[in-house]
């Protein structure tokens, strides 16, 4: 997936401009930045939910905006957090929905569909939950189910919009680990927006840091060396410590 001179935002308000970069297969890519900087907007643009202001997104030498919804459903899957899904679907029903783009007009599952769903249940260790309704799940379990749904959609690209919200520390780490494994073992290109900067530094392959006027796209190590993490938040409150790879709360000035 290649972004060329991409500018995103809404009518009359450009959030991020002139993005030139590419997301490669087998990598976990984290988009970070403060609230309102354009992380979710970028995810929405990349998933073709909204149009770019200018520039283009190129997938397999095709322009994203020219790909039909049916075709793009086989290229890009999206995991949205906090949207109005119907929580009365059972885990199995929700996951099988990922096969939608491949099914006939009545939505009949074939042998291949059943196999890939079983594989997903196994992979995310949620086999025991298959008949449970989504409303009975914990946030951590539900997030896994949503990712399993994206997995069975069998797309080279998986986009996730702030998947770590609502999760405790263990589940956050578990999520990042799962995504990282998914990228490595299944050659997926995974792009997520997140506030988990420290987790991303540890487990992401590439990070896209969105700042007010500029952006950086590189490996976490590279970004630490450039010292750009200190520019995300006002320095009187928090400082990035390159040694511990984490943020320190600045208590000296108070």
């Amino acid at each position: 997936m290649r972004l060329e001179k991409l500018s995103i935002g809404y009518k009359g308000k450009c959030l991020v401009s002139d993005l030139n970069l590419s997301f490669k297969p087998g990598t976990l890519n984290a988009i970070i930045g403060v609230n309102g900087i354009g992380k979710s907007t970028l995810i929405k643009t990349l998933s073709n939910e909204i149009n770019a202001l200018s520039g283009s997104v190129i997938i397999d030498s095709q322009e994203l905006s020219s790909i039909s919804p049916k075709e793009s459903a086989k290229l890009i899957s999206v995991v949205l957090t906090n949207r109005a899904e119907n929580k009365f679907l059972s885990v199995y029903e929700l996951i099988q929905m990922g096969r939608y783009p491949y099914l006939n007009w009545l939505g009949k599952l074939t042998q291949k569909d059943f196999e890939i769903i079983e594989q997903a249940l196994e992979l995310f260790s949620i086999t025991a939950l298959r008949t449970k309704k989504c409303i009975e799940l914990s946030d951590g379990q539900y997030q896994k189910v949503l990712i399993a749904r994206a997995f069975v959609q069998d797309t080279p690209y998986i986009l996730l919009d702030e998947p770590s919200t609502h999760l405790d520390l263990y589940h956050k780490i578990n999520l990042f680990k799962t995504l990282s494994d998914l990228a490595k073992n299944h050659q997926k290109c995974i792009i997520l927006s997140t506030h988990e900067i420290e987790r991303s530094i540890e487990l992401a392959d590439q990070m896209l840091l969105l700042l007010e006027k500029e952006h950086y796209f590189s490996s976490p190590k590279d970004l630490i060396n450039k010292g750009v993490f200190n520019r995300i938040f006002p320095s009187e409150m928090v400082n990035f410590n390159p040694l511990t790879k984490s943020f320190d709360i600045n208590t000296l000035n108070t």
Partner: protein, 335 residues
């Protein structure tokens, strides 16, 4: 109970409801006789045979069609708007029909006609609901999210209802009585032409609706997710509105605005089948809607007496307690 067993129970119930409906009324026709007559052996008592074929059977068929149409329309609207309170009339179809009939009654008396034939009110109701529906449809093409569309539909409904109130305020006692009589719903007045039109529309609408089962299921994930799965939201929305308009519109035109059933039946089916998968709920609401309508009609005929209750009151009187009971027992509405 497995899903198949539940469907079997539902179908058996529907057949029992149909036979009850045919047999009971101001005059009772023995069960076996109606069965035989349906099978081709006329009943010895020719007046019973006449009642069965020219009154009971058309009425039962109407109840079947109307019940399943309204239940299915309710399901479509609830899924489209992701709102458990949506029903077949959220887009103003019944108020449009009321306006058509009210205008007709007023207009007719202006020209000195005091009583309108059944066919005239049917045409009036159809035109009224078609006008409101096409207005809502035009808006649907412009509005991006379904929630705004829902509110707009309700607004159209309020405007139409307000005009109807104004008209009824200005009308004479006789006109008002006729209008109220129409609004209470009546299954028995249907003539053969209207019944054939109703049947064609119902069967066509339901068959086209089968093509929407797959996108309806995707809509359960929310519009953004459905879009990502390759569903064209706008196209699906228009298709759902058109089919609902045809089903609920024709049912309303023919029997009057029958409330409640369209809202309640989808909930009943989801609770009983314990799923929200449209592959199961779609056929379930069709059978359950028909069964419920047949039962309500049987009750409204007050068996063994010559009195008749308005069907619109019966559907709510019977249906609402069932829903309340189910909710208290199961503790959660599946939506």
């Amino acid at each position: 109970m497995s899903t198949y067993q539940k469907f079997t129970v539902l179908i058996v119930l529907c057949i029992i409801a149909l036979l009850l409906n045919l047999s009971l009324g101001s005059v009772s026709i023995p069960f076996l006789d109606s069965l035989k007559s349906l099978g081709g052996t006329p009943i010895k008592n020719s007046s019973l045979e006449y009642i069965l074929w020219s009154y009971r059977i058309p009425k039962a068929v109407t109840a079947l069609m109307v019940g399943s149409s309204l239940a299915l329309s309710g399901l479509f609207m609830q899924t489209l708007f992701r709102n458990p309170l949506a029903g077949p009339f959220v887009l103003g179809i019944s108020s449009g029909a009321s306006l058509g009939v009210a205008l007709l009654l007023m207009g007719a008396s202006f020209f000195g006609i005091t009583h309108l034939s059944y066919l005239t009110t049917t045409v009036g109701a159809s035109i009224g609901s078609l006008i409101v529906l096409s207005l809502v449809g035009t808006v649907a093409l412009r509005v991006k999210d379904s929630m705004s569309l829902l509110i707009i539909g309700i607004m159209f409904g309020s405007i139409t209802a307000a005009v109807v109130s104004l008209l009824s305020y200005l009308s004479s006692k006789e006109e008002l009585q006729q209008f109220i009589y129409w609004s209470l719903g009546n299954l028995g007045a249907v003539d053969s032409t209207s019944l054939s039109i109703l049947s064609v529309i119902t069967v066509a609408g339901m068959s086209c609706g089968i093509l929407l089962i797959k996108p309806l299921n995707a809509l359960l994930l929310g519009e953004s997710n459905a879009k990502n799965l390759g569903v064209s939201i706008r196209q699906t929305r228009i298709q759902l509105i058109v089919i609902t308009g045809l089903l609920a519109g024709s049912a309303t035109a023919i029997v009057g605005p029958i409330a409640f059933l369209g809202l309640a039946i989808p909930h009943l089916c989801r609770l009983w089948f314990n799923t929200i998968d449209h592959k199961i709920i779609y056929p379930a609401v069709i059978i359950a809607g028909a069964t419920f309508m047949l039962l309500c009609d049987t009750i409204s005929q007050l068996p063994f007496s010559s009195a008749v209750m308005p069907i619109n009151a019966v559907t709510s009187l019977i249906g609402a307690p069932i829903i309340i009971w189910l909710l208290i027992r199961k503790k959660q509405l599946q939506f």
